[in-house]
């Protein structure tokens, strides 16, 4: 549900950087969205279309890079792929792993003219 407000926030960040670099056109915008960020990619794409309307980003190509969710076990240091925050370590069974990646909600880069 908050994809739109996050999209608006991403657009604001992108436009600020574009303005500071005197961009006349934005060709491409790349976002990094983690598997555990809570954001649904399709909803995000749709939200970005709406949020970029009427701005320098309106016709930019959108690249969304989805970041895999990985964790490190606090008990045995095993690193593993996770699907949920409460997954147990596949090696030793301990809960509450430390999350290494997967929560990203970032504007990664812009390609501008």
């Amino acid at each position: 549900m908050h994809e739109f407000s996050i999209a608006v926030s991403m657009v604001d960040i992108a436009l600020e950087y574009a303005d500071n670099s005197s961009a006349t056109r934005v060709n491409n915008i790349e976002l990094e969205i983690g598997e555990l960020s809570g954001v649904v990619i399709d909803a995000m794409t749709f939200a970005m279309e709406a949020a970029t309307k009427g701005t320098l980003l309106e016709n930019a190509r959108l690249n969304i890079v989805q970041v895999q969710a990985r964790a490190s076990c606090r008990s045995c240091s095993n690193e593993f792929k996770i699907e949920n925050m409460f997954d147990a370590c596949p090696k030793c069974g301990a809960y509450n792993p430390s999350i290494i990646s997967g929560k990203e909600l970032r504007v990664k880069s812009l390609n501008i003219d």
């Binding site: 996050i6 056109r25 060709n27 809570g38 980003l57 003219d113």
Partner: protein, 341 residues
């Protein structure tokens, strides 16, 4: 779209009101609190860049005019999959050596090389590395709030839960019980109505209502705006009752000292597994309506175990606002925590 400034904010923008101010709030176009400096909007920026390549000619010799007759630019350019630009002439000419179908690549770019690996995006431009978190703005405001609370020696609590778990009732009872022992200030968050703020007002605490309109959560900026309407002396407790929602508020730091997640026994003991983000980001978990335990299939031990799986540092309070059971432990905790400032 906002009728006042044309931005993306909905017509029913965020309103911040004290009890008794509601008469002025019905006409939305007036109440459009135009403090837009801090809100997200895009009308400052250039609008004129349609995809017709109105280049200024300075850096790129794009020679577009003639090519553009066949250029159907009505498709949504902003999409995540590989897009094949047009069926039209193929090839780019010898200039760029890339391998995509693309009519308007008839350009001279002295210093550029299409040799790099791309499936046809326009990366002949400049690459700006940003790496900025979408929520960075809220995080910054939240830290400012945090600083303010510390300076004022205020214990700030962010109360989150599903709608109907008993947040407002808990506040009413807590305010009455702690009267004279510590000052309590309240910020209420709801989509609409002053109902909760009025209840708190009746209970005897200074309160401001934030109406988010279509919004589903409070953010740090709304908190600052509400704080400006509260006359806060030093020391005390600030209770921020968030919008009833176990999903969205979890992403938005308000600057609180502690986040309190409240569930009631009518909600199912697997709640923490179904909404892990909220439990993971909280410090305290209150299990309310314990008086109803004989009538529901809620296993308190199981609920706590699930919650601890997601967040092993959670502190629990089991209580019934209605009967008063367990309330004393909660109140004592508040007094003790307040002293730490």
């Amino acid at each position: 779209m906002c009728g006042t400034c044309g931005c993306g904010q909905s017509e029913e923008s965020v309103k911040i009101l004290k009890p008794g101010e509601e008469e002025h709030s019905h006409n939305y176009t007036h109440a459009h609190d135009h403090e837009h400096e801090t809100e997200k909007h895009t009308h400052d920026h250039k609008h004129s860049y349609m995809h017709s390549h109105q280049s200024d000619g300075a850096e790129h010799n794009h020679h577009h005019e003639k090519e553009h007759d066949q250029h159907d630019h009505s498709h949504q350019h902003l999409h995540g999959h590989d897009h094949h630009h047009h069926d039209g002439e193929d090839g780019c000419g010898d200039n760029c050596g890339c391998n995509h179908d693309h009519e308007h690549h008839d350009h001279d770019h002295p210093s550029h090389h299409h040799g790099h690996d791309h499936q046809h995006d326009h990366s002949h431009g400049r690459q700006l590395i940003i790496e900025e978190d979408a929520l960075s703005k809220n995080k910054l405001t939240a830290e400012r709030n945090r600083g303010y609370f510390e300076a004022k020696k205020l214990l700030a609590l962010n109360l989150v839960s599903s709608p109907g778990s008993g947040k407002t009732s808990l506040l009413e009872k807590t305010i009455k019980a702690l009267k004279g022992k510590t000052d309590i200030y309240v910020i209420e968050g709801d989509q609409q109505t002053m109902n909760d703020a009025n209840r708190i007002d009746q209970a005897g605490a200074p309160v401001v209502q934030v109406n988010t309109g279509n919004g589903c959560h409070l953010d740090a900026d709304m908190v600052i705006r509400a704080l400006k309407k509260l006359d806060i002396k030093n020391e005390g407790i600030l209770m921020i009752e968030n919008v009833g929602n176990l999903v969205c508020p979890s992403l938005f730091d308000l600057g609180e000292s502690k986040r309190v997640v409240i569930i009631s026994v009518t909600e199912g003991d697997d709640k923490p597994l179904k909404y892990p983000t909220m439990f993971e980001t909280s410090h305290i978990c209150i299990i309310n309506k314990t008086d109803l335990l004989p009538y529901v299939d809620f296993d308190v031990k199981q609920a706590k175990e699930y919650a601890l799986r997601v967040n092993p540092n959670l502190i629990f309070f089991e209580l019934s606002v209605k009967t008063g059971e367990g309330m004393e432990a909660w109140q004592e905790f508040l007094i003790e925590e307040g002293k730490r400032f």
